[in-house]
Symmetry: D2
Subunit: 379 residues, 4 copies
């Protein structure tokens, strides 16, 4: 993670988080452990709970604990245990939080604010209008370019392939939702040789999808055409009983949204004539009354985490660098930030972009003196 | 132009521009004539000058004149004539303006404001801080999705092919500038079978280009690799003597930016050992001292207008619908708009997106009651 | 045309065609004039007729005539005049022929054989089983890679855009036929932002199209979905009355196959309630009884020639180099060739590939001694 | 595997292999077990050895054994054990063989011939000129369209991602070899957002790669540019010490060719200053004297098998259907086949294509009577 390493080197020198209590609700992975180490070397005390029991790696949790970090959550926790982890971290009154879903933020009400990493979390926070600032890490341009579009684009399809061993070329992939993540999933599906259909409710996103060459149609029409369905809407029950009734036998159903509510699992169970058969470890096959079978991947949980490795390290590198720099800004210059959801400051975004390009070995032009004069005169 | 037709039908009923003086500086094309007719049927008096002497169609000008519209400019006008056209329209004190380059806007200082259609124009207006509102038509999402990215992407390459008859497949195309237009040019060049190199000075745009799979490098390095160079930077002399010295013999040089300053024509002439030879109507071949030849397309003027038909009608349809609705808003609700460059109101953007999708025959999902409840609860 | 120039330089030295009578039926373009010059400098006497009255450039014809070449045909010739041109060249008993459609070959029965440039021509020749060899220039790998796939792919869409000024992004393009040319048209349409549907009757070609990510369906189903239809089948009436009855209003119909029989023009006229209106120079609009309008481009003639410039020079460069080297082989080593349609000798194909790569500035690896040993041992 | 199922249903009725001894050298996977069952239900006695100790699934082997099939080989076998398995099956004098690498074929010399599944195997067989027919399953069009291009294209990149967790977007991927498999790897890498460089020694393949938009250059030049290297040449040591000396630190090295000889492992070990460190289960990191590290994936073995699941079931479906039908033809009509490597009969290829399209739910046009007449008249 060269971008985070470069940020961490400076933070370790300057220790801008000395004495700061950081609460975090993140996926307990090896990459997260590197972020926690960076924050601690910057002077922070860190306490962490798991953003998703499916993604928690117990060896990571154990290593963090051994290292003096408060860790609350482990792989396979029940929903109650997951909630308890959040409550515990919130009860420690962190000064700032790092969040992935907004639940910790809303419980902890951190004095100096925090960062939020998911669209779902930001929707909720915007509605709640908190009295402290929350920096929308998820909406930074570097996040969009890496995490949402390319990171989830690759890993969601990777999850589908690992779960099912399907050959994507020649299949029809239906992508529900054309935000940044849906755009990435659609690009990668097309890049893998699939024909892609996009379903959207928002006219401008739908128009962009259509201009990018995808078919765009209502989801009930797409239900009859798709071989593989991937939900990335942030909404719920976007695939439901009406869709199941129309789908081809053998269809694969996967969710790449944060919560497991996008495919209506209750209606799927209700539509089936018998309990599902687990035909591969992460493929549950539901038989309909007319003999068709529908295959649910990863139990409807976020498929890139549940069936693959989640985001590539390169994605977390950028994401965590953004979050570390955002925490530094919240702690160092609290006066700069009004309450509520705020953008990550553009200079942080640009700095992360610059570090990432360096990591990729890409050099840029610098404007010439003449171009600078022109810009001053005309721009 | 079904989107503009749909807008025009309503404007003609409601006549919200009755008595309004509209000044326009636009390309004098058949599509522009349709916009002018729509504004006049909404009640406006219109006076127009030509945004570019190369693009003016004299039959269009004649028809408008015959119809009672003030028309100032014709094909092949000198720079002085072009400037005089702008001055004439400005002198008529229009209430609102439609502009393409900001020159009319800055000269006319319209009471109720106007719209601007180019990045270059907006840069200038932002610097000038006018005391009236200017709606950035060019930055509306429907404009980005249609005009900049897809419209110019297609037409710039179309201009290169018509001017030179080059086979794009197998060529290396260097795109200088990766704004929305550069993105479109790069996409279409790759889609035509070219290997694409992007040159940028802005880290976030450069990162996006790299993540989209393009090579990104400084322009002097790209100068040695390219077969075709296309400038879309809004800056000047981004290809200059240092580049000419490194280019391969036979390289094609085209500009798709608004002004003919992006390729340094003075340095090109200075680098050549003899006056250029016109080897096809829009290809001037410059011979260097070492025997290499460089081919300038369309004299460095905006290649999609000078060598092709400019924007497809589908693009102008959206663009002019946005501008007509923006003028209506400026006239109907002047109190809504603060001075300076302002975004087109999102509801106008969405309305145009909706009309365009209808024109493309694309239907969308509507959220279910359950999804609406979820959005209210969580969003 | 660097590849042909390189071939011509050697032929001019060696004069292998000294005293040979060459008959040619080709498009009368500037590129053809270069080929004729190369053959003449190799020692041949050349007589030429026009392969298509629409593509003939009269200035080229005049220059060839002035230069002592027999030229039969000019722009806008009637069908009878076209046939008379072929008869005249055939009557001169050429030793070898260069053909584009097989009509000259079948009329002239050249002693040493000839080359043929179109799929349609080869189909006919295979059926006729001539008593002399015909080298299938059209099936050489360099032709497939350049001419059919990339050359016609680009120029067919270029023809559609020039004729209609359509914005391809966001449109549904139906490609009828998925041979090499259809593959190229489909690739370029997708690369231009269109959604692409392929119609095929041959299972293996259809499977390849589907695996490449295109929708594949029967043409009557596609008729309801397409915005733009392009025929490249080599068959006739593949778009006919049944299709016209189902098409959306505003559909564009173009043919990129050799003959103007792929769109059934008789049934189109019969389906219309009035004579077509020419709304742009190469767009004839037919009105159906239910009010829908269908737009025929370039009168159903091969759209890349009739509405654009035909093949880019880079394509003709390779094609003509192949043909010049094929004629040399037919004349120098007639004993190598059995009667009937034969492949271009692979060493000619490889030589042209090598010259073309050199022209593109591409260097290749050479196998190491160790790799050669491995190949000898294992390969 | 619907295609094989459809073939198997007929074979089970007709029992064309009754009394035939079939020897097989294949990957011991679940899909292979289905093929074996199909052949046995057609009447054959089957004996099988493992084509690769890394890919053998011991539960599959056990189930086959339990079912009465002779199985020789298990996961992790030594090279000697692998050779012994081949010798055992060969010693049983099979009438026909199914092979994957030609070793069994050359050892068994089957009376009626066999099928071969790899380019490497075919190269060897062509050199050896056997006295019995070998049907080149690997060169059937359905194999090319599914197995080589799309199957290995997807699974090779899948192997790279699973081994390394790399984000492909923004990386430079160097593909060595542009046969069908290399074409597939290059397409999928570009489709995943990588910039792709192709290295080739054969001019026509190189030209096709270049026309498809890839950069093409000698491998030593590519060595300095790549982030990820994938070999698919069928040759040996195509990445060797000269390349290691030029590569960027952090480069990933993967082989997708049949044998683990394409990356020179001896020169890699020699270039390193210490034994490799296994940083992920299938990533061995070699440190060079100058501090750079190079990462070898899957020990240089075929990465789609060693690091992922090998071919998707959809690929094996087509491949095994081809092989089953080929064995049937060899046994039923031995007189049709001359000795040596022969193509799979086209009607088998077309039949498999037709069954695969049916499995994908794709319908085709049938030619109309008029089109048939035209074809008879002109074709």
């Amino acid at each position: 993670m060269p971008v985070l390493a470069s940020v961490a080197a400076r933070l370790s020198d300057e220790r801008p988080l000395a004495g700061t209590r950081v609460g975090a609700c993140l996926h307990l992975t090896a990459e997260t452990a590197v972020l926690v180490a960076a924050l601690r070397s910057a002077g922070a005390e860190v306490s962490i709970c798991s953003a998703n029991p499916l993604s928690a790696q117990d060896d990571v949790a154990a290593a963090l604990l051994a290292d003096g970090v408060g860790v609350h959550g482990r792989r396979g926790d029940s929903f109650d245990q997951y909630e308890a982890g959040i409550a515990t971290v919130a009860a420690e009154s962190p000064d700032v939080v790092l969040d992935d879903g907004a639940e910790l933020t809303l419980a902890a009400k951190p004095r100096l604010g925090g960062t939020e990493e998911t669209t779902t979390g930001l929707l909720r926070l915007r509605r709640m209008a908190p009295e402290f600032p929350v920096l929308a890490a998820n909406e930074a341009r570097t996040e969009r370019a890496l995490n949402d579009r390319h990171g989830t684009g690759q890993s969601a399809l990777d999850g589908v392939v690992r779960a099912s061993n399907v050959l994507l070329a020649g299949q029809t992939v239906v992508v529900l939702g054309y935000g940044w993540t849906g755009m990435g999933v659609a690009e990668r599906a097309r890049g893998a040789g699939a024909a892609v259909i996009v379903c959207e409710i928002e006219p401008l996103a739908a128009l962009e999808a259509r201009m990018a060459g995808y078919e765009v149609m209502p989801s009930l029409a797409a239900a009859e055409r798709g071989d593989i369905f991937i939900t990335v809407t942030g909404s719920r029950a976007v695939i439901n009983g009406e869709h199941f009734a129309r789908m081809k036998s053998g269809a694969l159903l996967a969710n790449a949204g944060h919560f497991d509510v996008e495919i209506d699992l209750g209606e799927l169970a209700a539509a089936a004539v018998e309990p599902p058969v687990t035909v591969r470890p992460l493929v549950d096959q539901y038989r309909m009354a007319d003999g068709r079978v529908l295959n649910l991947l990863a139990r409807g949980r976020v498929v890139n985490l549940a069936a693959a490795e989640g985001h590539p390290a390169a994605v977390m590198d950028v994401s965590f660098a953004l979050q570390a720099l955002s925490l530094e800004a919240l702690v160092s210059s609290p006066e700069r930030f009004a309450p509520g959801v705020q953008p990550v400051p553009p200079e942080i975004d640009t700095e992360v972009g610059r570090l990432k390009l360096a990591a990729l070995g890409v050099e840029l032009d610098r404007p010439t003196a003449e171009q600078e004069r022109y810009r001053r005169a005309w721009g």
